[in-house]
Assembly symmetry: C2
Amino acid sequence: MIVSAAQEHELILSVLTSRGARPDTADLQARWLVEADLRGQDSHGLRRLPILARRMERGLLVPNAEPVMSWAAASVLTVDGQRGFGPVTGLSAVRHAAGRARQAGIVLAAVHGANHLGILAPYTEAVADQGMIGIALTTSEALVHPSGGRTAMIGTNPVAIAVPARPDPLVLDMATGEVSMGRILRHAELGEPIPAGWAVDAAGEPTTDAAAAAAGAISPFGGGKGSGLGVALEVLVAVLTATALGRDVHGTLDAEEVCNKGDVFIVIDPAVLPGGSHLAAVSAYLEEVRATPGQAGSAGARVPGDRARAERQRRRRDGVEIPGPVWRAASALGPGAAALRDSG
Amino acid sequence: MIVSAAQEHELILSVLTSRGARPDTADLQARWLVEADLRGQDSHGLRRLPILARRMERGLLVPNAEPVMSWAAASVLTVDGQRGFGPVTGLSAVRHAAGRARQAGIVLAAVHGANHLGILAPYTEAVADQGMIGIALTTSEALVHPSGGRTAMIGTNPVAIAVPARPDPLVLDMATGEVSMGRILRHAELGEPIPAGWAVDAAGEPTTDAAAAAAGAISPFGGGKGSGLGVALEVLVAVLTATALGRDVHGTLDAEEVCNKGDVFIVIDPAVLPGGSHLAAVSAYLEEVRATPGQAGSAGARVPGDRARAERQRRRRDGVEIPGPVWRAASALGPGAAALRDSG
């Protein structure tokens, strides 16, 4: 079914506020889910709401928690999310870091104790909107096998990088798995095979059977290099946030465990540098990439962030396509649905 | 032919000192080339010496230049290499950054005006040896085409990350191209085809003809994701160092142009964080990755840095294999060879 972003936002808001979230924290979490659906990253959209709701009911997510921040060093901020919403904690961390980056030039924010951040791009975009460079990293449950290995030992460990440019910033946002588990699950629901190279089965053998892949592990993107990058980010985030590694990570996909992954933000203010933001040169280079002749059968070369921006514009205009079961599952969590259940 | 690391080092030292390099700067540059050959990254080893020598003769490389450093902000160091050796500038930058990272927690060093850094791993290892996290980035001549594009517009843009662990640090060092141009050229020399996916020809069409690939562009690793990462790093480094982008980058592969690429180092001291270096947990996780059952036909899962370390040990013991033409070209640059030429 097709809904507007406003309709989706309203539904999420009602589900979260009916479970005790203040309007401001609920609004921020709702915006993050809607943004994911607007950009076509629907594995991080409305389908995450039931888990968030159950986590709230069980005290694994404390919707109005105030993140506790302290400066571990002049340029390093540590943030304890206190089981709050990921976007509430993450955006607070980024804003505090950005404030000090104006003087220090670079600031790192190391976050633990927050729930799932959702899509990473908007944290870095919030930084780029202020003329600064934003980098975001987060770990997740082990879903990806190392290159050459048979079992999942690495999170999907996404990285986002935003660099100011005209007319729009460069915004990279990519996981280090070849594909999301959400996409594998959708192929399984539809009974469709998955492309070779996406995943291995429970025995660690490459498979094109989506159901077998869902019981196995996602393959790293780009073979040994992508696998190495995933392992490096797993370790980097864990050290900086003193959080769990590999199969010990829980709490972003389940409603049973405290979320024990880590998040890292880096903010750099190019205004402190002699060359400033190098805006004209960077913008010209990105235009050159966009304009380069495309390979046969391809949509041409893309600048990171362009596709998500175009998807977002289209869906803001035409609406967001939400699978019926996802909309109904979310609606069933609303206060109206609860009243119906209670009286029924 | 097989030579010892000491023999290779001595040859390089004589070539560089005979062109005016002081013993200390020549030693550092020599060690960087030998390290590359020891680790099997021979595209960054002895075969780079003739270009370095010619650059010195033409004043494009000033061997005893003192890098000019200044703090642009509390945690941002800018470094002008003054046309010096890459390793001399890079290691100075890293050491200055590491000193301040003890207090600030994180420091960024932005370098311009240095010659080719050579392999990146040792800069980050020098940081990890002090119990800190090191990250290194550098741009290069445009050799890689963007995903969907036909022509080279992106540097090979490597990234290195070292994180302290026991018994050895994790050391990622990877370019964002699928393969180095050096490997393509070697296939071309031997008249061997290259695997599909490595490169495109001058018209931008995928090719397995090594000679055609050498006239074309390297493909990004990991398709759209690797391409996006390469573009993001190109822009990130250019902004931070106010250096050239894309096809405007020169001076690491030629002996005609001033080197106008940029280098970025980030040093983070985990000792400032409540969890410290998280050493036991990280080391246990990396051991688990090493021990996981391997896929059929693979050498098993690897931790970044393990292979290079093993290669290095083997070659330190058994010697370094250097192609005859590479050794002879280097030897012909030595002071003995020059004396022969002058008297001949």
